[in-house]
Subunit: 422 residues, 2 copies
C-alpha cells in the first residue's frame, strides 16, 4: 500500500516547525516528507485541505482490556475499588473477554490518535491476536506478581512476543514492589541483566506504597530496584507520584523513563507527580499514559496532555510551568523511546508510518495562533480525522476500517453483563 497525503501541514516533532506539503508512505514506512509534489503509483491520494499530520500518540502505560470495568465501580475509596471490585471481576475474565475488550480499547485509542500502547495485562495470546487482527501496534509489558506469573514465564513471554509479529514487542516488567516478593525481584534483576534489557513497573503511585516499602526495606521502591540491579540497561516507572530526591537522581543517572498518568492519579486520589521538580533534578526522559479505563475512565491523550501541563502549573504555582510543546514531545517521541519504538518517534523518511491527521477546521482549533498549544490545551478526540498505523489507515472520519464496531459493542456489553452482573 502506497499513500500520498497532500495539502498537509506536518508537525514532524523533530522540531517545532510546521512543514506545508506532502507526506507519502510505502508499505509500513514513510517514504517522503517535504514541499515538492510527489508523483507515483499511489494506491490512494488524499487531499488534506490544510489539515495537520502529527506522529501518532504513544500511550506509555495502560491496561487495555480493563475497558470491561469502565464506570462500573467509581467514586469508591482506592482499597475498596481494587480489592472488592477490580480483582474479583478480573478473575472472571476469559480469553474471549480479553480479546473483545482489547478490541474496544484499541478502537478508543484510534479515536484519540494513539498508535501504540505500552500494555500491562494478562492472557497474552488473546491480547496479541486482538492487536494483530486489527493492525494495532503494542508493546507488551511483563506483569508478574505474587498472585500470578513466574520469572521463567516472563522469560518465555520475552522471547515469544519479541519474535511474534512486527506490530508486537515485549519489555520486561512486573506489577509492583508491594505485590512482588524479594526473591522474585532479585530473579527479575538477573533476567534484565541476562538480556541486557530495560525493566518497567508501577512505581511510587501512592504514598502508602512508598511508606510500606520503606517499612519493609528501609528504602523507597526506586532505591530498592536500583540496589537489586534492575536498571543496568534502563527502563522506567509508571505513575512515579511520590519520589524523593534520591529517586530522582537514580532516574536521572540511569536515564530511566518517568511515565506520568495524571487522570488516573486524580481520579484515584493518588496525588500530582512532581514533574517540574524532577526536571530541576536533571531528569529528562518523560512519557504519558492513560492507565486503564477502570481508573481513568477513558483512553484519551488530549485529556492527559492538558492535565500533564495544567497540574504542574497549579502545583508549581506558576502559569509558565510545563509549556505545551514539551508535553507534546512527552506524548509522542518520549513515549516511543520509553517503549523501545525508536522508529516510531517522529515523522521522517524511513520511520514507520504511525501518524494521526488532525482536523483543524473545528472551532476549538481556531484561530491558528499556535498549533502545538491548540493541540495540548484545546484539542479533543473530535479533532482526530484519521489514524494510521504501519502505513495502514485504521480509523477515518469516525469509521473503524479493520474491525466491526457494532459487533464489538454488542459482545462487550454481553460479556460485561456476564462478568459484572449489572
Amino acid at each position: 500500500m502506497k499513500l500520498r497525503f497532500y495539502n498537509a501541514k506536518i508537525l514532524t516533532m523533530e522540531n517545532e516547525n510546521i512543514i506545508n506539503g506532502e507526506l507519502c508512505t510505502d508499505g509500513g514506512l514513510i517514504s517522503y516528507i517535504g514541499s515538492e509534489k510527489q508523483n507515483g503509483d499511489f494506491d490512494r491520494e488524499i487531499d488534506l485541505c490544510g489539515n495537520l499530520i502529527i506522529p501518532g500518540f504513544k500511550d506509555a502505560h495502560t491496561h487495555t482490556a480493563m475497558t470491561f470495568l469502565r464506570s462500573f465501580a467509581d467514586d469508591l475509596p482506592l482499597n475498596d475499588w481494587l480489592y472488592e471490585q477490580v480483582f474479583p471481576h478480573e478473575a472472571k475474565l476469559t480469553e474471549e473477554a480479553i480479546y473483545v475488550f482489547t478490541q474496544l480499547g484499541n478502537m478508543e485509542y484510534l479515536t484519540s490518535g494513539i498508535t501504540s500502547s505500552f500494555d500491562m495485562y494478562f492472557k497474552l495470546p488473546s491480547y496479541a491476536k486482538a492487536n494483530t487482527d486489527m493492525g494495532f501496534r503494542t508493546v507488551i509489558c511483563g506483569s508478574i506478581n505474587d498472585f500470578g506469573g513466574t520469572v521463567e514465564g516472563i522469560e518465555e513471554e520475552y522471547n515469544t512476543y519479541n519474535n511474534y509479529d512486527p506490530l508486537i514487542s515485549y519489555q520486561l516488567g512486573f506489577h509492583a514492589e508491594y505485590t512482588t516478593k524479594l526473591e522474585t525481584l532479585e530473579a527479575l534483576a538477573k533476567l534484565a541483566q541476562k538480556y541486557k534489557s530495560p525493566m518497567f513497573t508501577h512505581n511510587s503511585e501512592t504514598k502508602a506504597e512508598v511508606d510500606g516499602c520503606i517499612e519493609r526495606y528501609k528504602m523507597t521502591p526506586t532505591q530498592l530496584f536500583d540496589k537489586l540491579g534492575m536498571f543496568e540497561y534502563g527502563g522506567g516507572g509508571f505513575h512515579c507520584v511520590w519520589f524523593d530526591e534520591r529517586d530522582m537522581e537514580i532516574f536521572r543517572d540511569k536515564g530511566l523513563y518517568m511515565v506520568t498518568n495524571p487522570a488516573s492519579n486524580l481520579k484515584l486520589a493518588s496525588g500530582i507527580a512532581p514533574i517540574c521538580e524532577m526536571k530541576r533534578h536533571g531528569m529528562t526522559n518523560f512519557a504519558i499514559g492513560t492507565d486503564g479505563a477502570a481508573s481513568n475512565n477513558c483512553l484519551d491523550m488530549f485529556k492527559e496532555m492538558f492535565l500533564a501541563a495544567g497540574l504542574q502549573k497549579v502545583k508549581e504555582n506558576d502559569a509558565a510551568a510545563c509549556p505545551a510543546f514539551g508535553v507534546l514531545e512527552m506524548a509522542t517521541k518520549g513515549g516511543a523511546k520509553a517503549m523501545g519504538l525508536n522508529d516510531c518517534d517522529v515523522l521522517a523518511a524511513g520511520k514507520r508510518a504511525d501518524l494521526a491527521v488532525i482536523d483543524l477546521a473545528q472551532p476549538n482549533m481556531q484561530p491558528v495562533h499556535n498549533i502545538a498549544k491548540n493541540l495540548v490545551y484545546a484539542g479533543s478526540k473530535q479533532n482526530v480525522k484519521m489514524t494510521v498505523i504501519d502505513g495502514k489507515i485504521l480509523y477515518e472520519d469516525g469509521k473503524f476500517l479493520t474491525v466491526d464496531a457494532d459487533e464489538v459493542y454488542k459482545r462487550a456489553n454481553k460479556i460485561a453483563r456476564e462478568i459484572c452482573g449489572d
Copy 2:
C-alpha cells in the same frame, strides 16, 4: 417547528433514572417525554437508535469572544499574561471582531453540547446580535470596572437586554473587587436592591486578590460584598478558589451560586477550589463554567466535569469525593438556576427544548455500566451528535446549521492576525 425524537434514552436530570422512549418538541418547548409512541404532524422524526438525550450543558462563566486569543499567549506568569497580552489586545477589538469571535465561541459550545452561556464581556450590541442571528441562548453578565462602564450604563443594559429577545437575558454583575472602587460597589449594591436582582462577579480567584482586599478593607471580597448589601436577592461568584469559612457561610445563608472554573484555575495556576469543604459548610448551589478561551483554552464541558470531580478527589485525598452524578447536576440544572434560566434546567414537558444528543455508539461510552459516570469521566466532544436550542437544531453530525463555519474561520483568522500581528 415540531420535532419527534424516538428510540431514545433520556436522562432528564430530574433524577438519576433513564427513560427509554420519546421526546417531542413544539416550537421552543418540550411537549412530551415518555415511553408511548407519539403521532402528529411533526416537521421531522428522528430515530436516535438508542442514543441519549440530556439537558444542554450550561456554561455558567465565560468570556465568549476571547476565542480571539486562544493559544496566543500561554505559558506566561499570570500578570504578564493579563497586563501585557490580554488587556492591550482586547483594546483593539472592534464590533466586527466581537461578532465573529462570539460566533466562533458559540460554535464551540455547540460541539460540546452547551446550550447557553453566562457571558461577561463588552460591546453588547454586536455580542447580542451574534447570538440571536445563530439562535444561541445567552445570559449577559454586567462587567463594569474602573476602566470601563458606569452604574447608569449597567442599569440601562439591564433594562435593554432583559427586553430584547427571548434568547437573551441579563444579570447584574461587575468585573471584580480589585478592579472596582468602593463608590461603584456601593452604587451597584443599591442597584441590586432597586431591581431585587441577584449580583455576580469574579470572586477570590487568586490568593493575591483576597490578600489585597483584606489589606484594603480588612475583610475578604465575599464579606465586603455582603456588608455592602449586594446579595440581598441572591447571585454568586465566579472561581471562588480562596474562600474562608465565613465566606462559605455567607454563600450558604444567602443561597449564592459558586461557579467553578477548574481548567482555567489549573492553567493560570490559581489553585483548586474547595468544593467539598464548601459542601461540608452547607453550601448547596454549584455550577460550572469554562472561563474564556484565552485562559482555558477551550470551551468544553466534558473537560470541566472531569476536572471538577478529579481535582476534588485529589484535594480531599479521597477517591470517593465529588461523585459523578452531582457533577452532572452542576453542569446542567445548577448552571441553569445560577443563570436564572429556570425553564432550561431539566427535561420535562413545558420546559424549553434546550438539549444535546449523545452518541453512545462510541468506544468511550462502552460498555454501558453507568451512563452518568461515562459522561463525566469518559465523555468528550466526539460524543455530541446534536445540539438543540429552543426547539431548533443548531448542530448535527459535525455540521453547523445556522452559521457558515468556513466563513467564520476565515474571518476569525484574518481579524486575529490584524489584532495580534502574528
